[in-house]
Every structure is written in structure tokens, then in C-alpha cells.
Symmetry: C2
Subunit: 342 residues, 2 copies
Amino acid sequence: MGRSITASRVRSTGDRPRIEDVAALAGTTAITVSRALHRPEKVAAETRRKVLEAVAALGYIPNLAASALASRRSRILALVVPTIANSVFADTVHGFSDAVTAAGLQLLLGQGTYAPETEHRLLTALVGRRPDAIAVIGIVRRTETRELLRRAGVPIAEIWDLTATPIDLVVGFSNRAAGHAMTRFLVGRGRRHIAFVGGDDDRAAARRDGYAAALGESGLAPGGADIRVADISYGAGRRALRALLEAAPAVDAAFFATDVLAVGALLECREMGIAVPGRIAIAGLGDLEIARELSPALTTVRVPSYDIGRRAAELLLARIAGDAVASAVTDLGFEIIARESA
Amino acid sequence: MGRSITASRVRSTGDRPRIEDVAALAGTTAITVSRALHRPEKVAAETRRKVLEAVAALGYIPNLAASALASRRSRILALVVPTIANSVFADTVHGFSDAVTAAGLQLLLGQGTYAPETEHRLLTALVGRRPDAIAVIGIVRRTETRELLRRAGVPIAEIWDLTATPIDLVVGFSNRAAGHAMTRFLVGRGRRHIAFVGGDDDRAAARRDGYAAALGESGLAPGGADIRVADISYGAGRRALRALLEAAPAVDAAFFATDVLAVGALLECREMGIAVPGRIAIAGLGDLEIARELSPALTTVRVPSYDIGRRAAELLLARIAGDAVASAVTDLGFEIIARESA
DNA sequence: TCCCATCGTGACAGCGCTAACATACTCGAC
DNA sequence: GTCGAGTATGTTAGCGCTGTCACGATGGGA
């Protein structure tokens, strides 16, 4: 049945050439071809030349699935993101992709993990591909999922928020500290009725936490109703601002969990003729490009989205290469960008 | 040497369980486990139960690289994008990912193909993974690369622009027609000195083409210097607007190849006190969310970014399943969204 | 009663590659 | 000339899964 029984080793037309076809044409054997391609220094220059010639002549492209199976190295890095339709996460994917590509590996992307259930399913599927490492945006909460990742037996990075108890590595910044710092900043600007507006994901919750702690330290009470948004959009930011002013007329500052919401609020203020920062200060988080282009320009927290992705990939690659990674926790920090809106 | 020589088939700790381990625990053989997982209707209910129990007990996750090798189906779809840090492409990735995930396959993402050379290298690497289908944003120009894809022997989709001579499938809209339609729209609004501003990629070039054709039909000359931007950002849009007004003071309309540039121009006009659309009309393409939130709201071309990704994946999946795809060309159209800026 | 279709299961081989060991050959030291 | 070390290449045996065929059991129709 097998090809090896047939007299000729020439492949039928339409089939892709295999490593043996290359070897035959180059007058050598499969293993030498493999070495010529992966460890050229182990092969005589003349042999290498013949092999490369044969590769070119046949248009040979190694089957990486077979390679992965035999070598137990897939040369794939998996990355899991809540959604890609969010430019800060897109930047992280970008950074991750750049580092992965530079190292000659490939990126397997999993998307859609705001629910723990989907996250688990998605990760199971990804683990099946036996990636050399896995990165996940967010801290993995479900015990079962953490166990799944641990058992995958490869380096794991949880990225975008810090935790003292990572599965393996963490790369990000403290969302809590960022929330705290911005709130202190607003207090420092003389604001006394500061509201927080955000969604319900973990990162927003951490920022809200930091906000609450900073208020407590300053002896202040929350400056408005607890406004939660269901989706992250400019429109949601507008609506949230209106709801806030209605529910808490005394509010003098609004800190939004993300710039998209803050920008929406800024636009709404302009249309309603509400002075910013006169009547109310507006602050965001993310430092989107649009934030600095509006007027008043948005005061925000700059966050290393691209670097988180890039650094995570680099650390994972180092781990794969067997290099010791100094610390399990990589804090990339953040920066308050004071502009006109607060 | 091999595992089969050892007396016991129980795996050493740390190793992942294989299909044979599951089979042993379920009291059956590997092939039955494979069938129980992939074609459950082919296996007796009782056997299936035992297999699933064993799978759960061992935490077995099939090795998809081995599966791909044996079955010649990788269950991977590859997608290649110029950059992901551009929200319209991110939407396309999103749509593609949704369809791929829904079908139980996985997404291999390649990023960074504004240069033909990188595109070729990236695609070579992706083809090595033997995806079941490949989608590429843009029309593949290089003959060598087209040949590479053709020889991959799987369905191929070129997406985001139409062409009469696709490698296999095309899904998108006519960038030329969109440029044409918006230009006609501006002419219809009484504009006579219409400028076009965009980058140098293929899509911008097609839009510029349509613009030039529409001007010709209306007996008009280009309304300004030929402004090319090097990067796509709000800042670039601002600078382009200033450059345009300086180079061609008579200009009464500016059509930007993408909304990001148009939004930048709109912001610049506001700051410079230039009346829009009084002094100059501004139009874009893409229909970003911010476009409708600004005032004046941006007149633009709505483009089916998400649907292009989703539809491309669906068509590719249909092809893989052996269904005939009605037409090689899928035109998803576009829509002029007339708002206040033009 | 026999036959053949159908169902459930299994044996075997192979997908295309590489790790590990084995072998041949070269060259300089003694 | 012999030996050992180093270099270049080859042989063998899988990696973990599934396609293909084969086989036994069951059951309904002639």
C-alpha cells in the first residue's frame, strides 16, 4: 500500500514533494536534507548546495506538522485574546506577532474569551496543537483551566494584569495601581466628587478597586452612582456621562476605565456645552491616538499594550530556548499623561 | 527504544496521555477511540461512554499535529494581514476568526505584508503548516507568490479588493468603485475642486483610480496637489489637510482614502477655524465609529470589514467540505454614508 | 437454511519528518 | 603504520494519529 513498495519513488503529479524526493534529486538521503535545512553547518558546503538546488527545483516546502510530530517542537506560539476588535488588544497581538515572526515561529490566535466557559474550550483546542508556549490576556481564574495549562507542559504567560500567583509567567502592569494613581491624580487636582465608569471585566474591576482604595485613603466617598457599561464604545461613553450627571449632579470628575468611553464622554460634554475640565474633569486609560487629538485633549494612563505582547513573546521564547527567566513577574508599568481634560 | 518495547504501556509521569492510553483504560483500541471522538455515530453507545470516561479521567487532549499528518487535514485556516493595528483589518480578522471557531477549526495568523518580499516569506512558512485553506488581505501580485499559493493545493481567498483574475476566490468590494462613487457624490454636492489624499498601498491606489475616473467623467481636474501620506494616523490626516490648503487654496473638497486620515483633517479644520462643509467638504472611507460621533459627523463609505472576513472563511469552509461555490467573485459592496461633513 | 447487507470493532500500515545511534572517512600525532 | 578525534553521512525506529481493509456478529429476505 505504502509508497515504499512501488518501484519508483517519483511522486504522482499533484502531490507535494516530500523530503525524500529532494534527497533523491540531490543524490543523498532524507536526514541530510533535514540537516541541510535546519543545521547547515553540519553539512558539507557542496552537499548543501545540491540540496538547496533540489529544494528550489521541486518547490519543496517542509511539512511542519510532520516536523512537529517527530521533533516534539511545533514552532507555534498560541495567543488568546478576549477580542481583537479593541485597538489596545490589537496592539498586543501586534507586538506578540512581531516577536514570534522574528524568531521564525508562527502565531496561533484564539479569540473570544470574555466567558470562562469559552476560554476553557478554546484553550483545550489550542493545547491540542501542542504549541511551544501559550499566552493568555488576563489572569486565568478557573481552576480547571489553570490545571489544563499547567499540564500542557510548556511555558505559559498570563498578560495584561499582574498577579502574585501566576501559573507560570506574568507580563503586564497593575491595573489596580493604575486606577489608584489616576484617582490620586484627580484628587491632587482638587476634585472631591470623583466617579468611576467601566465595564465588568477583570481589568476594569481591578481599576475600580484601585480607585476605591485611593478614595478611601483621601477620605473621600465615591462621587457618583456606580455606573456600569455593557459595551465599550464611544456611544456607551456618551450615555454613561449623561447617566452620571443625572444621578449625581455634584460630580466634578469622571474616571473612565478605558479611553474609548472617556472620548465618548468628552464628545458628549462638548455637544451639551458642559465645560471640561471646568464643570467636570474627564480621565481615561489607554492613551489611544484620538485622546491627544481632541480638544480638550484627554488626560489618561498610558499603557504598554504593544510591549506587553512583544515582551511576553520574548520571555516565552527565552524559556523555550532553555534560558532562565529572571522573574516570574514582569511589571511594565504605566504612565499618567496629564493633558487638558483633567 | 520505542515505547512499544517496554513491558508496560503506562506512561511515565509528566508525559501526556496518548490515544492508546485512553484505549487501554476504556478496554478497546486506538482506532475505536479515534472514532468515538470524531464519528460518534459509528461507535456503540456503551463503548462511547467508556471512551469518554477514559478521556476525562486522563485529561486526554488529542495531538492535532499527529491527526493532521495522518488525515491530511490540519483543521487550520491561515489568514494573512498587512497589519493588525488598523481597526478595519482587525474587524476582518474578527469576522474570520468567528467563522473559523464556529466550525471548530483554528486560525493561524500571519501579519506584516506591506512588502511583497515579506509576504512571500510569510506565506511560505504558512504553507508549511499545510492549512486547509488560506486567505490573504489584498490581491497577490507577485507571480511567484501566486504560484506558491496555487501549488498549495487548497482553497485560496484574496480578500478586500476585487479582481477579475483571482488565484481562486475573491471576497471584498471594489475599491475603485468606492472611490468613484464618493467622488461622484462630492460632485453631486456641487464641489468642483476635489482633492484625493491617501497612502501608497494597493487599496488606496484603486480608490485614487476611481476618483480620477469620476473626475474625468465630470470634466473636472484634480482639485489639489497629489498628497501622499506615509503613515495612516490622525496626525498624518492633520498634516495632509494643512499641506493641501497650502498647495491648492482653491480646493473645496478633500476625499481621504481612510477615515483615520479624514478624522484627523476634521479635527484640524476645527482647530484652524475652517468651516466644514462650508469652506471645504471632507469625506473618508471605512465608517469608523468615531466618524459618526464627531461634529460635523463624517461623510464616508461604509465598508463590510467584518463581513469580508466572515464570508471569506465561510466560503473557504464550504470549499473544504466539497460544496461548490457559486462564483469565484463575491462582491460585498459598500455604501455611501452622507453625514454633515460633505 | 443460506446469503448478503449492515454494524461494530480491530489489525496494519503509513502520513513526512527527525532523534539517536552507527558507520565511513579524513587527518594529524606518535 | 596505527590510533584517536573529529567530520560527514546513513540506518533505524519511531512521533501519535487515522485510512483502509478485514473480520465476526447479527438479522431479515429468499
